[in-house]
């Protein structure tokens, strides 16, 4: 039955990917084989995912589910793609709360925390590259989209210096984008 199939397919997508664009090949494998979408439609959904809040995985699951089996389809596919979080991560959360005061965990975490910060800063760099340079443009000063750098800098000043809240800053960035994006 289609609802179960959607659930299982998207559960597989969830377990075999680590979010974001790394999901595309896995998504392709599943939805093309089932004939739920064409390769072109998968690229469209990537564009739709960019336009809407939420991650690519959730958006793709909702979209495919909606197209193949209406609202029940959307819900079962979305639930499927959430399964790794609801099982593996739930178990991890349970253990980490149990071991909260363990000195061993605390030592391990003292190593993980700076590593995690390094990863976060690397994400900022990768995002800067994909945002400030047009797709396919050379990574040179000439290729920089200065208007976007200015928007980012303005938002940075508002966040750091004027302590503007994140939701307000995001809305303002949308307006600035409309004016100068």
């Amino acid at each position: 039955m289609i609802l179960l199939e959607l659930f299982l397919s998207f559960m597989k997508i969830g377990f075999f990917s680590f979010g974001g664009l790394t999901m595309i090949p896995v998504i392709n494998d599943e939805v093309l084989v089932h004939g739920w979408m064409t390769a072109g439609e998968v690229m469209d959904i990537v564009a739709v995912a960019e336009m809407t809040p939420g991650s690519l995985g959730i958006n793709c699951a909702t979209f495919v589910g909606l197209r193949t089996a209406g609202i029940p389809g959307a819900l079962s596919a979305t639930l499927g793609v959430m399964m790794p979080s609801l099982t593996l991560c739930m178990a991890a959360a349970h253990f980490i709360m149990k071991l909260k005061d363990s000195p061993v965990l605390e030592s391990a975490m003292s190593g993980v925390r700076p590593v995690s910060m390094g990863m976060l800063l690397a994400v900022a760099v990768t995002l800067s590259q994909s945002t400030f340079w047009a797709e396919g443009a050379a990574m040179s000063l000439a290729g920089v989209r200065w208007n976007l750098v200015l928007i980012a800098a303005a938002c940075g000043v508002l966040l750091f210096k004027f302590k503007l809240s994140i939701p307000k800053t995001i809305l303002l960035a949308a307006v600035l984008g409309l004016l100068a994006g």
Binding site: S85, L86, C89, A108, M119, L148, A173, G177
Partner: protein, 203 residues
């Protein structure tokens, strides 16, 4: 954790007013509502969620600590599945157990499901609309300072010694310039942490 709670902060959510503040159901509903608000604004890969959860749960309400935000972020990125859903489950569980995890995860997902329904319907006209691209450009820009601010606020809790600066630099290099998987990077971090900080504490 409860004592940091101020009921006045709930006035921003009409219909779920201050009468629901003290009890568990109130916290669960509150988490769902906050996560749904956060879910409306997770553009650009979702990394801004770190800054938003920090503002809502650590700074405003004191339901989580800065350490928990960093720890859960590293776990969320290391586990299969979707980072922002993993993050919601971990934070939700830490606040209110299984019910908290479910409330946070579904709160975050609800706006995305609604939005995709709408956007799919209007996709044809949105695709060719140049203003949509402009707005998205603006929103992508803001994710970068949001991440940097989140990192700035986490630095006191994560950079506690000279060694940790070394780990930060190494992880930045590895994550920024190689394709080594994030779970592997985190496991090495944990092993080094055990090795370095455990022996230190004994000494």
């Amino acid at each position: 954790m409860e004592e940091n709670f101020k009921s006045s902060e709930w006035t921003a959510s009409p219909g779920e007013g201050s009468e629901i503040t003290e009890n568990r159901t109130g916290r669960l509903l509150g988490m769902f509502w906050i996560m749904a608000k956060i879910g409306c604004l997770t553009f650009g890969g979702g990394w801004s969620i770190i800054g938003q959860m920090q503002a809502e749960f650590v700074e405003k309400r004191g339901w989580l600590s800065q350490e928990q935000i960093i720890d859960f972020m590293s776990l969320a990125k290391s586990f299969p599945g979707i980072m922002i859903i993993n993050m919601s489950v971990l934070c939700g569980y830490a606040m209110e157990g299984v019910a908290g995890a479910l409330s946070a995860a579904f709160g975050l997902t609800a706006p995305a499901i609604l939005a995709i329904g709408l956007v799919t319907y209007f996709y044809g006209s949105l695709k060719s609309n140049p203003y949509v691209e402009k707005v998205l450009n603006g929103v992508r820009c803001v994710v970068i300072p949001i991440i940097l601010q989140a990192a700035w606020k986490l630095k006191d809790k994560s950079l506690t010694s000279a060694v940790s600066y070394g780990l930060l630099a190494a992880a930045f290099g590895v994550c920024g310039f190689t394709d080594i998987s994030k779970p592997a990077v985190m496991i090495v971090g944990a092993a080094l942490g055990l090795l370095i900080f455990r022996t230190r504490r004994k000494a």
